[in-house]
Amino acid sequence: MRLNTLRYLLEKEFKQIRRDRFLPKIIFIIPMMQLIILPFAANFEMHNINLSIVDNDHSVTSQQLTNKILSSGYFRLTDYSPHYNEAIKSIESNDADIILEFPQGFEKRLGREGTNELLIAANAVNGTKGGMGSSYLSSIVQNFNAEKGYYPADLVGVKVTATNLFNPHLNYKSYMVPGIMVFLLTIIAGFVPALNIVSEKEKGTIEQINVSPVPKSLFMLSKLIPFWVIGFFLLTIAVGIAWLIYGLIPVGSLGTIYLFAAVYMIGFTGLGLAISAISSTQQQAMFTTFFFLIIFALLSGLFTPISSMPEWAQNITLLNPIRYFVEAMRMIYLKGSHFSDIEGHFFMICFFAVLFNVLAVAGYRKTQ
């Protein structure tokens, strides 16, 4: 009898989702767009930094250094300005990011005294960009020094070689794509079901269910299962896109990924349902979910490393289910971590799944 009831409820949910004018499109198109656009957009690598050069020297050395800088691939020459005051205008108008000024008599003094200064002025409103740009520039100058033999030979003695494991081409997209998959599942599992129950409340249809003998856990289950199934479907498409567009194949086991995803989605649907159970309007449910989602996402390590955060923020991330799955997903995808390497992560995700679903069932009241 119970299972039968669930069947009827599920039939209803699937029909409603299918019949919605927007939902099926949004559920599929938008996550796919994310997966295709986000990795290209979310990129901290710097190139095409706009450079304005003020060359007061017009010497062979200044020309050589300029050529070296421009051929590095990081910089793009915006203009040659006759004067620093002109160059600063291109910074104000955002046409240039960095000014490089060769002082008058640059080459001569370098030849005479073996040293000279070179002015680099970077627009540091965006601190990362300004900082990275000027340090790229500095390191090119250092290399130039070494090439020209301005450095003592002793320093060259230290040999350090670096090997980049797991992502030898240092491809930032390979790092982002697995993380974005998690983000995508989070939205589908957490956001959409949250709105679902509240919409039934607003329309009043939930009354007719509340007055029937349907147990609340069964009703919740009928809301959870469809999005769970959709989530799996999406994950499969996402894995396909990662392979087709980014050439990314998990080094670890796909089975582990699906196992994690299964529990994770149950957890987030639970959270969505818990929020919708305590919200009376969709607007309220949306804002509450949104509030949690944005904090969870920013503190998940998806965009910036957790180890860079201050201690208190790192402690908060321990309570963040997204963090565990993002980490696990990247480890499985890129490093081929085994289940035993990440069972701690799995345990935490299970814990949150249980917690959120208990909250959901407890929060939904058939009786006032």
């Binding site: 901290f44 040293t115 601190g127 040999k159 980049n164 494991l165 797991f166 969709q282 180890s307 955060m309």
Partner: protein, 362 residues
Amino acid sequence: MKQFASFIRKEFYHIFRDIRTMLIMLVMPIILIILFGYAITTEIKSVPFAVLDRSRDEVTTRLTDRIGASEYFNLYKLLDSEEEAQDLFRQGKVRLVVVFPPQYASSPDAAIQLLADATDPNEATQLTGYATAIITAAKTDAIVQTMPIGIIPVVHLLYNPLMKGAYNFVPGVMGLILILICAMMTSVGIVREKEMGTMEILLVSPMKPVYIILAKAVPYLLLSMVNITTILLLSYFLLEVPIMGSLFSLVMVTVLYIIVSLCLGLLISTVADTQQAAMLISGMALMLPVMLLSGMMFPIENMPKLLQWLSNIVPAKWYIIAVKDIMIKGLSITSVLKETGILILMAFVLIAISVKRFKIRL
């Protein structure tokens, strides 16, 4: 006019009655400022590393200590084998392993190997860079450098000498919060009335539809101003971001951007039938582009041409540029004529489309 005032009052009731949503709207900017101000950074610090020391001599011990003592690294473990390194990488316990060759002290030309977990390529590049610098510095300690050698780059960081992230994201958070409140809330608010059927009641009232929509917009406009004030106060006093330019110009540009956001919300409400749809459209079609394509988090210059082109139709991009120019560079409003012009144009286009759609739909 009296009628209009009573409509505005009704909208305020809607907002105040839902205390939780209102609280979230007021607290959200504070949390975002704190998160972005303190937690969201890519600075490397205290990254766990391990050492596979095949020499175990005085020099390698000293180098290990030097690396571990830096703010960038924390020594996790001394390893015995390469397999152990692999395991630690797979478990995510360390992100860098330093391998010293045998008899390093007696053969200083031998190479030290750095194994980096390059899952996060940026981090890996920075880690190997820092580690190399520390090792080089430690090895050349002995060499006394009395005079500067070669070309010395003198770096001036304009506008933001301390390279504070806040200078960049405060304008970004402003752009984000305003879109969120104005566009999302207005669109959902209007669609809600459509869904509940109360919109029809309002439309048959003697009020002109324009005023009905205006009345919906006014409370959100005020809420946005409250939020902007919070953000500016927090960033000025807590994050110590100066306001170099004129506050008046800043407010003018902000009001312009709010109007654009409200128009966007209006447009969405004419497209969406259900609140769910309105939310998802504004969430996905507004939020994400603002976060990704406005230059708030990621530099636009690095993106493929298509995305760079797309970023031009994101109002937040222009708003954020204008705010940075006025607030941080201290430029006058005449230097942001292009940005304000684009925003004004967007406002007109959006109003035109939504008014047209609004009439057709109702």
